[in-house]
Symmetry: C2
Subunit: 214 residues, 2 copies
DNA sequence: CACACTTTCTGAACGCTGTTCATTTTTACA
DNA sequence: TGTAAAAATGAACAGCGTTCAGAAAGTGTG
C-alpha cells in the first residue's frame, strides 16, 4: 500500500507547516508572544493536534530552533570572493552579527533561550549550529596556517571570537547597548548607532589579531 | 507628626522585603519560576498588595535587577593587591564571569531579560551597571597609559572586552557550551570543564592584548 | 454498500500566570 | 469613640501549556 507512505508524507507536511508558522510568528511578534494556541490558529488546526506532532512546547521550539540554525548557516556561510582568510574571518563575524540583529527573536531561540536538556536526546537540533562552529574554527586555523594571525590555541581563540560576536549581538538584542544612547555615560561611544558599533568592533578585533605578533 | 515618616519607612521596608524575597526566589528556583504569587506568599502579603508597591511585574523585576547590579558591583569591584593594571583587568574579567556563573538567574535578569523600556523612565536601575562599565573603561585606559597594552580606541576595546566576557557567561548560562561536552565536535576543547574554559579564555585574551604591539 | 476498526482531530477543562478592583480591615486623628 | 483615610485582601478575568474523553475521518473487509 502506498497510502502508508502518503500518510507519512502528510504527517511530515504538517510538521513543516507548524515550524513555518511558528517561525513566522517569531518574526512578526516577539519571542514571548508566541503561544501554542496562536501557532494552532495559524495552521488551522486545534491546539490539541499540535501535541500529536510535538510532545510539548519545548520540543516544538527545538524544531523551530533547528530550522533557524539552518537559515543562519545558509546566510552566514555565503561565500565571498576574498582570498585572504582573515578578511573572510571578518566577513564571517559580520554576517553572524547581521543575522542576529536582523532576526532577534530567532537568535534568542537559538542562543539565549533556556533549554530543556531532556528534549535534546534524539535528533540533533544543533546540527547546523555545530556546522557554523566548525566553519569558524577551520577558518581561524586557516588564518594561522597562512601566517595571518598568531594563535597558540586556535580552538580557544575560536571560542573567544564566537563569544565576542555572540556577546555583542545578545547585548544589542536585549537592549543593553542603550546605555550608549543617552549621555549619562559620557564617552566617545555615546550617540553612535549600536548596530554600527557592533560591526566596527568586530573589525577592530580582527585588526588586533592581525597586528599581534609573537 | 512623626507617623508620616514612620509610614514612609514601613513602606520602604516592604519594598525592600519584596526585593529580597524575589532575589531569594531567583536563587532558589529558576528565573522562569518566579511569579508574583510566590513572591507575595514569601513576604506574607496578598498578591494584590504587591501592585500597591510596584506598578507591575516589570517594575518589580527592574527593582530586583537594580539590587542585583549592586551586588554584582560589590563582588566584582573587590580590590586586589596587584599593582599591574593589566593583571587587575584580568581579575576584573574573572570576577565578572565568576559572578555570572554563580548567579545565573540574577545574571539573566541583569543582562539577558527582554526589557520593557517604558518602565525605565524614572529611577536608574542601571546605576551600578554603569558604574561597572566605568570601572572597566577606566581600567583599560589605565593599561594604555601604563603602556601595558596598545589601543587606538580604548572605549571600543572596553566594549569588546565586555562583550567577550558577557558572551562567554551567557553562552555558559544558556547551556550552549554543552557542545563541548559530547564528542560530536571533535576538537581539543571537548571534555573540558566549561567554567574553566571561560576563565582561561579570559586570561588568553588578556595575554593577546599584552603581546600586541603597534 | 455496510460494517468494524484505526487513526486523526477536537475543544472543554485544569491549574497556572499577570493584573484589576470592589470589598474589608486597619490606621490616624479630632 | 467616631469617622475619614489608607492599606490590604482575594475573587474574578483573560491567556498560558497541557490533557483527554469523545467526535470525525479514513481504511480495509465481507
Amino acid at each position: 500500500m502506498g497510502s502508508q507512505q502518503r500518510k507519512e508524507r502528510e504527517k511530515e507536511d504538517l510538521r513543516r507547516k507548524v515550524i513555518t508558522a511558528a517561525t513566522e510568528l517569531f518574526r512578526e511578534e516577539s519571542y514571548a508572544a508566541v503561544s501554542m494556541r496562536k501557532i494552532a490558529k495559524r495552521v488551522e488546526y486545534s491546539v490539541g493536534t499540535l501535541y500529536l506532532y510535538y510532545k510539548d512546547k519545548d520540543e516544538l521550539f527545538l524544531a523551530v530552533q533547528s530550522a533557524a540554525f539552518e537559515q543562519a548557516f545558509t546566510f552566514i556561510n555565503a561565500r565571498s570572493g576574498k582570498d585572504d582568510p582573515l578578511e573572510r574571518l571578518q566577513e564571517l563575524g559580520e554576517r553572524y552579527v547581521r543575522f542576529g540583529m536582523k532576526n532577534p527573536d530567532l537568535y534568542r531561540l537559538m542562543f539565549m533561550m533556556e533549554h530543556p536538556m531532556d528534549a535534546m536526546e534524539e535528533g540533533d537540533p544543533w546540527h547546523s549550529g555545530i556546522a557554523l562552529h566548525n566553519l569558524l574554527t577551520s577558518l581561524v586555523k586557516e588564518c594561522v596556517a597562512a601566517g595571518r594571525i598568531v594563535a597558540e590555541d586556535p580552538d580557544r581563540l575560536s571560542f573567544a571570537l564566537w563569544s565576542l560576536v555572540h556577546g555583542m549581538v545578545s547585548l544589542r538584542i536585549s537592549q543593553r547597548l542603550t546605555i550608549y544612547n543617552g549621555a549619562h555615560l559620557n564617552c566617545p561611544l555615546c550617540g553612535i548607532d549600536t548596530d554600527q558599533l557592533v560591526i566596527e568592533t568586530n573589525e577592530m578585533m580582527i585588526s588586533i589579531l592581525e597586528r599581534q605578533k609573537n
